[in-house]
Structure formats: structure tokens, C-alpha cells
């Protein structure tokens, strides 16, 4: 590695192979247009080409690949959700994640860590038991563990939490993992490109054209594209896209912030979440402590960071990990979370023919990258909502048939 670094450092040109070349001019039409070149959009393009033979596809991205919420999440993958619908869905995703490195021939640094969700009160412990039973029923490795177990696995944590909200137990999910989020987006992008998909970065959709209730094309800042099937996979920008087709949804945008500390030697091989304290932490493969909290309190379409966030987060974090008081925060950022009232996504067909929606990903989108790409590709290819995502259909808000995933969101909202 050092020799290779030196070799490239001294060279005038850089001849590392590109993942895919710069885009050509837009064609006048495509079979499918995917709006949003994040993990979900790339995964959908990849599975459309790989599993359904649909390759006349354009992915339109207003910024650059994986530069939105795909590059802003805290990379946790788990499937210990609360509802049977959620458990089935996220577990399919976790299993896909485990094979992605082989699938891409690219190391996504998938690292199984073990995931603790701490309970500081009796009522929290009760929810953990409920989740563990639902999980076990669906064959997920998930159990409630006591203080001794936690003390053994996370010895550097203060279980008494500075004496004011002692940890009573935890939900332990052994398959909980982290992965390199950029590698996931780029691996899907390369796989899709090699199968014939066009990827257009810096291409913003300004209008979706319909005739009657059928989609006929999209207007972009680089020209008009005619197409009969358009799918929106834009997470925090979803309301701007649904507004173009006059679709009403319950999605509201709240910023979600995160930060990393300076890198330190590896000491933490688990993921720790506290729903009651609204914080979570894991250590990245570079040694940084990756930390997050709950979403900001008011609606905002911005990725600005705030001092209030770091102040609130570190206050709670030091209760759990007092030794971190001497570590410095190195970087902080925010993403726009598209939150739904039942903390489940909105996926599948919509009342507009040829317009498909994959949104409402709030704070739970990264872990669903493979499965959402796969099920949405199936949905587009068959023009029929895939059975795994049937519970997440938009019409559930008209039928009063919500999913109720709130208890399993990683931190309280």
C-alpha cells in the first residue's frame, strides 16, 4: 500500500480505472427514468438490469452519486424491528447486504458488530421483550439481555449512566452490522452501468409531464426526456417531486444530524443505541466514533448543522461513556429525513399511472437499500406492487391501515 501510494503520488496522471465514464448527452427517451442517484436509485437500476433485463434506463441525479442521505447516514444495518411487516422486509435486506461484496466484486466493508438497544426503564424493557418475541417468531437472532451480559460485551460503558438513569437491560441483535455507505452506492452504480444503465449526474428534474393520469416524460435542466415509467427515489426531496404530479403524502422533512470524533484506536466492536437518551454510537473502520441523535424538532429543508445538536448529544454520550470527555468532535453534518407518521416507508405504485414512489425513508433508509432496489425493480417490471412492500403502499393513509413502526425507530422521535 505505501509503495502504491508513492507510485501514484509521483505520477502526473492517475490511471486508476473509473467506476463508470462521464455521461453522454441525454437520449430523447428511456423505458424507465429513476429520479435520484443515491443507494436506492442505483440499487433499483442495478436490479432492473440484472434481474429483469430492462437496461434502457436513465438515473438522474441533481448532485453527485451518493451525495445525499446515502452519504450522510450512520451506516447501521439491522432487522430487529417491531412489526412483522418491518421484520420480514428489513431481514431480506440484511441478507442481501451480507452477499453484496461478492455480488459487486467490491469490498463494502460489511462488518457484523452486534447491536444493543439499551433500556433504562421498565417500560422500555417491556417494548424490548415485545420486539424480541416478534423477531424470534420470524427467525431473527434477537434477545433481551441483562446488565451482566452488557457489562461483559461493552465493558467501557457506565451502566449506571452517571447515576440518574441506570441501564436495566437491552435488546441484543447479534447480526447488527455497519457497512461502507459510499461503496454500496458506487458498487450498485458500477454494476448498473456495466449492464447498460445510463447515469446522469448534475441533472435536475424540474417537471414531470402527464397526459390524463399517465406519465409521459420528465423535463430536466438538460432537456426533455419522454418515458412512461418514472420512479422517485429522492428521500429528503420527495415532497418536491410528489408536488410535481399533484400527489398528496404525509411526508414532512426534518433534518437529522450526526457527527464523528477524531479517530482513536479500535476499542468498540459493538453498536450501542439508547432510545431513552436519544443517542447512538459505533466505531468506524477508521477509528472514528460515529454518533447520532434524534431528528431536529422542526420542519426544515436544509442540511445545516447546529451547535445545539452537538451540545445535546455529547451531554448524553458522556453519561454512557465518561472517558470520551477528552475526545474531540472532528466533523458534523446533517441530512434531510422524510418522516412518515407511522415510521414506515411509502413504496410502490401510485394513483398516477407510470409514477412509482420510494420515499418516506426518514431515519431508516440505508439499511433498506438492497431490498428497496430489488422490490421496486420488481414492481416496475411487473407493474404490480411486490408483496414484501404491499404494507407500505401509499393508500394505507386513506384506508387507516398504518404500519406502526414507531417503537423500533433506532432512537426516540
Amino acid at each position: 500500500m505505501p509503495w502504491r501510494l508513492l507510485k501514484y503520488g509521483l505520477k502526473k496522471t492517475h490511471d486508476e480505472p473509473r467506476f463508470f465514464p462521464a455521461a453522454k448527452p441525454l437520449k430523447s427517451g428511456y423505458d424507465v427514468v429513476i429520479i435520484g442517484g443515491g443507494g436506492h436509485g442505483m440499487a433499483c437500476a442495478y436490479y432492473l438490469a440484472k434481474e429483469h433485463g430492462i437496461t434502457n434506463v436513465a438515473v438522474l441525479e441533481q448532485g453527485y452519486i451518493g451525495g445525499g442521505n446515502t452519504g450522510r447516514n450512520t451506516t447501521i444495518v439491522r432487522s430487529n424491528y417491531l412489526t412483522p411487516e418491518g421484520v420480514r422486509f428489513y431481514d431480506t435486506s440484511l441478507k442481501l447486504f451480507e452477499d453484496l461484496s461478492d455480488d459487486f466484486d467490491l469490498n463494502i466493508f460489511y462488518s457484523t458488530r452486534g447491536h444493543f438497544t439499551l433500556a433504562h426503564t421498565d417500560s422500555a424493557l417491556r417494548t424490548m421483550r415485545w420486539r424480541a418475541e416478534v423477531n424470534k417468531r420470524h427467525g431473527i437472532d434477537s434477545e433481551v439481555v441483562d446488565r451482566e451480559f452488557i457489562a461483559r460485551e461493552v465493558p467501557y460503558m457506565d451502566l449506571d449512566c452517571a447515576g440518574h438513569s441506570a441501564v436495566q437491560g437491552a435488546l441484543y441483535h447479534a447480526p447488527g452490522a455497519v457497512a461502507r455507505h459510499d461503496a454500496v452506492a458506487w458498487g450498485y452504480a458500477r454494476g448498473a452501468y456495466n449492464r447498460g444503465v445510463e447515469i446522469h449526474q448534475k441533472t435536475r428534474v424540474t417537471e414531470i409531464r402527464t397526459q390524463g393520469d399517465q406519465v409521459v416524460g420528465v423535463q430536466t435542466d438538460r432537456g426533455f426526456i419522454s418515458c412512461n415509467r418514472v420512479i422517485s427515489m429522492v428521500a429528503g426531496s420527495t415532497p418536491r417531486i410528489t408536488e410535481m404530479v399533484g400527489l398528496r403524502t404525509p411526508i414532512e422533512i426534518f433534518p437529522l444530524q450526526a457527527c464523528v470524533s477524531e479517530p482513536v484506536k479500535p476499542f468498540m466492536d459493538t453498536i450501542v443505541v439508547s432510545g431513552s437518551l436519544h443517542v447512538y454510537v459505533s466505531q468506524s473502520s477508521r477509528g472514528e466514533m460515529v454518533m447520532g441523535a434524534s431528528v431536529d424538532p422542526s420542519v426544515l429543508h436544509s442540511t445545516r448543522s447546529s451547535f445545539d445538536f452537538v451540545e445535546g448529544l455529547t451531554d448524553k454520550m458522556l453519561d454512557l461513556f465518561p472517558f470520551m470527555s477528552r475526545m474531540k468532535v472532528m466533523r458534523q453534518w446533517a441530512g434531510m429525513s422524510d418522516i412518515t407518521p407511522d415510521f414506515a416507508p411509502i413504496m410502490g405504485k401510485t394513483p398516477i399511472k407510470g409514477f412509482y414512489l420510494d420515499g418516506g425513508w426518514g431515519t431508516w433508509g440505508f439499511k433498506a437499500t438492497p431490498v428497496s432496489g430489488k422490490t421496486m425493480a420488481w414492481t416496475i417490471a411487473h407493474d404490480k406492487t411486490h408483496e414484501l412492500i404491499e404494507p407500505f403502499r401509499l393508500s394505507r393513509f386513506a384506508d387507516f391501515d398504518l404500519v406502526g413502526e414507531k417503537g423500533a425507530a433506532s432512537v426516540g422521535h
Binding site: 420527495t238 415532497p239 418536491r240 410528489t242 408536488e243 398528496r248 403524502t249 404525509p250 411526508i251 414532512e252 422533512i253 424538532p297 422542526s298 420542519v299 426544515l300 429543508h301 436544509s302 445545516r304 447546529s306 451547535f307 445545539d308 422524510d338 407518521p341 393513509f397 386513506a398 384506508d399 387507516f400
Partner: protein
């Protein structure tokens, strides 16, 4: 710390306020579809929203118009402006 410039109580830390969402009027006499729309659907795109804010220390409610793209409060609203009569 972010400050909120309130015309009644002056500059206060934003953390003293609770965000309580858009000011909306329930469809008092409507069918289930209209009610489902009111209960769940929101105006999610960036725009100027009329919102409820609650100041915890003084226990007072405020209505403000805020640009949700720039996070700028543009106007304070007199509650009389948004009041409606509930049919007996």
C-alpha cells in the same frame, strides 16, 4: 445558541419553544376521504408555513409564518386571524 426574536417576550433561546406543526383547519363536516387527508397528509414541500409554536417557560402559544427552506420567521400572526367557530 439560536435565538428566536419574539415580538411579545423578546429574544429567547429556540430550545425554550416546542414545535407543534402547521396551523390547519379540520374539515368539520366531511366524508372519510377528506378526514383521512386532513389527519395524515401534510404540505411537505419547502414553502412559507403557518405554524404553532409553544413557549414552555411562559406557557404561551404563538403562530408564526416561517420559510421552511431558509428557516426564517417572516411574520407573527394574531390568533384571531386563524380562529374558526366550531358548530354546536
Amino acid at each position: 445558541m439560536k435565538l428566536f426574536d419574539c415580538p411579545v417576550i423578546g429574544k429567547r433561546p429556540i430550545s425554550e419553544f416546542d414545535y407543534c406543526g402547521e396551523v390547519r383547519r379540520p374539515p368539520l363536516d366531511a366524508d372519510e376521504t377528506a378526514w383521512a387527508d386532513f389527519v395524515f397528509n401534510r404540505n411537505g414541500a419547502p414553502q412559507v408555513l403557518r405554524e404553532w409554536w409553544y413557549h414552555r417557560p411562559t406557557g404561551r402559544w404563538y403562530i408564526m409564518e416561517r420559510d421552511t427552506l431558509k428557516d426564517e420567521v417572516q411574520r407573527f400572526i394574531d390568533p384571531q386571524e386563524v380562529r374558526y367557530d366550531i358548530p354546536a
